[in-house]
């Protein structure tokens, strides 16, 4: 199990770095897909089969397909090299460095994280998730569904030219 954890983590981190560093948009998307699949593996290690599969269906199977779609239709085949002035580069490095410092300082002494709820190995299975979503978190769940509907309707309105 530990070995699998490290294997999946290595795949995820390498793919995530390649998403950032690779210059070809198609390769970026493919590394992101690999990253998501490795993440689904992490869910399975936590015995959250339902979350793992939904993660693959939604993120890998739907959202990334749309990403790939857009890139293919725009034919962004060529590597993008963005040129920025020296001032922008230097300031970007300084800002990034300061942000890293803040993160490091914030997490330096928080090695032990106490979960509010005790870990329940059944929580990632279908019945566990269903009971949690439709019991304890019913209101946030329903509100987020309204949010999704409004986003969908909004996208339709934008899509219609003479609305």
């Amino acid at each position: 199990m530990i070995f699998l954890f490290y294997l999946l983590s290595t795949i995820m981190i390498v793919c995530a770095l390649l998403v950032v560093f690779s210059k070809n948009p198609i390769n970026n998307v493919i590394y992101l897909i690999l990253c998501f699949i490795a993440m689904a593996g992490h869910y399975i290690l936590l015995n959250a089969q339902f979350l793992a599969v939904v993660h693959i269906i939604v993120y890998t199977g739907a959202i990334m397909v749309l990403f790939l779609f857009v890139i293919m239709l725009l034919n962004l085949n060529k590597a993008i090299i963005i040129r920025k002035s020296t001032v922008t580069r230097v300031s970007a490095v300084i800002t990034g460095g300061i942000f890293f410092l803040v993160l490091l300082a914030a997490t330096r002494q928080t090695f032990e994280i106490h979960a509010k709820y005790p870990f329940n190995s059944e929580i990632g299975l279908v019945s566990g998730i269903g009971k949690t979503l439709f019991g304890e978190f019913l209101l946030p769940f329903e509100i987020s569904s309204i949010l999704f509907i409004s986003a969908m309707v909004g996208a339709m309105m934008f899509g219609k030219k003479d609305a």
């Binding site: 339902f50 599969v53 269906i57 199977g61 397909v65 790939l68 779609f69 279908v126």
Partner: protein, 343 residues
Amino acid sequence: MDYSTLIFKAIFLIIILLVTLVVAMYSTYAERKVAAFMQDRNGPNRAGPFGLLQPLADGLKMFMKEEIIPLTANKYLFILGPSIAMTTALLTGVVIPWGDTLTIGDHVYSLQMADLNIGILYVFAMVSIGVYGIMIGGWASNNKYALLGAIRAASQMISYELAMGMSIIALVLTTGSLSLHDIVSQQHGMHWNIFYQPLGFFIFLTCAFAETNRAPFDLPECETELIGGYHTEYSSMKLGFYLFAEYVNMFISSAVIATLYFGGYNMPFIDQLGLSSNAVTFIGMGFFFIKIFAFIFLFMWIRWTLPRFRYDQLMNMGWKGLIPLAIFNILATGTYYFFTSLK
């Protein structure tokens, strides 16, 4: 997990793989024979008796052909495309319960590789990854027709996945479980889900045709408009992988339909025969395969009967026909169970 189970699982996995490949191989032969029968021809009859060796000859031909990778293609993605298509097609067979339990000595083995808690969703996940095989292959060819074919395939598969998922929700409402093993064992004794979910079955069947890119939904490889669609630039065994993956998908989706709606390995009057449990398992497995072959025949029958849809007809049917129908099915099923459970 002790060693005997592990060895059994390994052997069983290899058997599933071989059976899947052989069935897919002979589906190509069956397809040509069915087409010939419908068009009043003879079909393949040169290689071996009744042309039975034709799939082998075809496979050999595919391997021997020259392999061409276009200079303008993205080489790695060009190879990745058919690999993804084939891998995801083969991965789905793992969760299907091919039979009941088998007793060898004092061990009881289950004839299902993995009884996942979320069996149906796993099938969906593999189908949704399978889109990438077509998309990446079509894009990497660097050919306009291939790209158009890939985009058609992807949009078609995404659109029909929605209706398929919704027809499954209604099924899950009746069964109360996502595990394929539970779904099959609940259908014991002619309680097949087709009698409880007839509308859901028709939606699922239609979507299965669209997901496997079979006629009348084979627009991605519509030869009068797009030459070969997404596999225009492919040759040799890479083309073979794409064509073969389609037949593997057809076999697996027939197995899924038989499992979900037609009782899987259950058969009527099996309890009255008074056979030993192993014999029952083997008869059930045979019956399951008969159901699968019946669905494969249905796939072929429809392919050689119906003409192809136009693209806008396809999209209209998916979004304006099947999805509202599936939502209605969910509502009707939910209402029924709400009122029957009140009593």
